[in-house]
């Protein structure tokens, strides 16, 4: 091997290695920039006043993000309540009940829908769901319920995709064994196959939760955005993500740092969700 070739081999090896390290560098930089700007702000406001305060009036020096934390938790829970049962049942349909011809159309259609931009969902929510809720329940139409329905719809494709592949991964012998013991098709699917796919389905749900809690553009359109603790499911809420996107444009000083600190809280939520996602996925593999 000539020296020239050897040199280029070495060079490219190093270039590949550096490229591989870019993702590590990116995570480190993201953590660094978010935490370095956010954590001092939390300390300055004091963690108790920041995380436990119910008053968000940045211009008067009140930086309590409890309403936003609760807002994120409310709409996430709502989205999960709306989206998960329908999503799992639909995944069961796709995996075990769907006629082959229909499946060939439905599967790519649902996969495609996972890619619909969130701003388009937000637009749909604003022009269809909000007026609908206003007519049904009165009020402004923007609030926890509307946001929950919106988010529930948004996570359907994600949950269906993951849950379906989990159900399909269950060995056929489980199903056949149940049939052999006299179970009907439905009983075999629900009581033998589905429990075996539990961890995969759960992973799909957690992936959905991660999606919902980080969702910004769709929620901002339909949740009402009032930074107060809501008193009913029709009340308007502001989530952690909306808080950032609404005020970042004009914030400065401690206000801006408090918004970055909001991102710190969001980031911690996401990290916890991601870790439990990988933990469940790995447990399912073993």
């Amino acid at each position: 091997m000539s020296v020239k070739i050897k040199l280029s081999e070495q060079m490219m090896h190093i270039i590949f290695f550096i490229s591989a390290c870019v993702s590590i560098l990116a995570v480190v930089l993201i953590c660094y920039f978010i935490f370095v700007s956010g954590v001092p702000a939390i300390l300055e406001i004091t963690p108790k006043a920041f995380l436990g305060g119910t008053l968000w009036k940045p211009l008067e020096g009140f930086f309590g993000i409890l309403p936003m934390i609760m807002g994120s938790i409310y709409v996430t829970t709502g989205g999960v309540i709306v989206g998960v049962p329908i999503g799992i049942l639909c995944a069961i349909f796709m995996a075990r009940f769907c006629p082959e011809k229909l499946y060939k159309i439905l599967k790519p259609a649902i996969e495609l829908l996972a890619g619909v931009p969130s701003i388009v969902y937000g637009f749909f929510g604003l022009v269809v769901l909000v007026p609908m809720m206003r007519n049904l329940f009165g009020g402004s139409g923007k609030g926890i319920l509307t946001a929950s329905v919106m988010l529930g719809i948004m996570i359907l494709p994600t949950i269906i995709g993951v849950a379906e592949s989990a159900i399909r991964a269950v060995p056929e012998s489980y199903y056949e064994g149940a049939l052999g013991l006299g179970a009907t098709h439905e009983r075999a699917v629900f009581f033998a196959v589905l429990p075996a796919a539990k961890s995969g389905v759960l992973a799909g749900v957690i992936l959905g939760i991660g999606r919902v809690i980080g969702e910004t553009m769709a929620v901002v359109m339909v949740a009402g955005n009032q930074p107060v603790l809501p008193n009913s499911i029709f009340g308007g809420v502001r989530t952690l993500t909306s808080n950032i996107v609404l005020e970042m444009g004009y914030a400065s000083g401690l206000h801006k740092d408090a918004l970055i600190a909001t991102a710190v809280v969001l980031f911690v939520f996401i990290l916890v969700i991601n870790l439990s996602f990988s933990a469940i996925k790995n447990r399912g593999r073993n």
Partner: protein, 304 residues
């Protein structure tokens, strides 16, 4: 003889033959009567499927039908004015943003996948860390990317709201998508290809670029197209990195708005609902078209 004849007669009389494992509809209903729980579960599953498909079809149908009727040639004028909120500048900006982001993300994504699959030793601790970080990157919400981009590129590097700052931010965001799909495509290339290449005296680098990459190309292209879909549909990460100026960019350091950001601006101003309908359908068709192309490429070429 007579018996054979009659046997032949019956076995050819196919219309009247019925498999004993096939149930007629009436038999199924009778069985369900004895099993109310099964009927209930069947009902649940079918209703959920119908509801899901109905809702998703309604979302798409509503946006397309209302959008198309609001489309007009005025919306594709070269200049953006407050009287005519043309989306053409935003479309051009989307094109620039996509091109620039891919320019940054694709080489890094493909090279790092090559490192992971072709160079790194199995069970290497670095590989494990890279896997964890790519998974983390995939889970980070786009608004956090936006804040990070704002802090690092716009403030830290003093770039301000620019096309370039937006593109780097998006490049980091789509990096895991490209990495993962490329990795999968590379892993799908049979080892015999590599062995054959080595056996003929090719070095590692030549094997990667001449043998492995060409065979993995369809998978990689599908991943890149998927990344384009993400870029085109992204809003939250761009508002605070590329800004919201509504004219077409003339250089790397101009503030721009892509089509998705344009849509957000129209909605938050609340004055241009008809134009927002039209923008929504263009954005939706664009993104769904790109995603469909991606899965078409992936399926078409993996069969051969």
């Amino acid at each position: 003889m007579e018996m054979v004849q009659s046997l032949n007669k019956t076995s050819f009389d196919k219309q009247n033959v019925q498999g004993i494992n096939k149930q007629t509809f009436a038999q199924k209903m009778k069985a369900y009567k004895k099993q109310p729980l099964s009927l209930f579960l069947l009902g649940l599953v079918v209703i959920s499927a119908v509801v899901t498909i109905g809702i998703l079809a309604f979302v798409i149908g509503y946006i397309v039908l209302n959008g198309v009727s609001n489309l007009s040639t005025d919306l594709f004028a070269w200049e953006y004015t407050t009287e005519n909120v043309s989306m053409l500048p935003a479309l051009l900006n989307t094109l620039y943003m996509t091109g620039l982001t891919l320019l940054l993300a694709v080489p890094v994504g493909i090279f790092s996948a090559i490192y992971l699959v072709e160079y790194a030793k199995r069970g290497n601790w670095l590989v494990n860390i890279i896997r964890v970080t790519t998974e983390t990157l995939q889970g980070i919400p786009s608004i956090v990317y936006g804040l990070f981009g704002y802090l690092m590129f716009c403030i830290g590097m003093n770039l301000g709201y620019t096309l370039f700052a937006g593109a780097i931010t998006l490049a980091i965001m789509v990096l895991p998508v490209i990495m993962r799909t490329t990795e999968e495509a590379l892993l799908a290339v049979p080892d015999s290809y590599r062995e054959g290449s080595f056996g003929l005296g090719a070095g590692r680098l030549r094997t990667v670029f001449r043998i492995v990459l060409p065979s993995a190309m369809p998978g990689i292209i599908a991943g890149v197209i998927l990344a384009i879909g993400r870029i085109v549909g992204e809003t939250a990460a761009l508002i605070f990195t590329a800004g919201t100026v509504a004219t077409a960019a003339t250089g790397l350091f101009d503030s721009t708005r892509t089509l998705a950001v344009h849509m957000y601006c129209l909605l938050s101003e609340g004055l241009y609902m008809e134009q927002a309908y039209a923008t929504a359908v263009v954005l939706l068709v664009l993104v769904l078209g790109i995603n469909a192309l991606s899965s078409y490429v992936a399926k078409k070429f993996t069969k051969n």
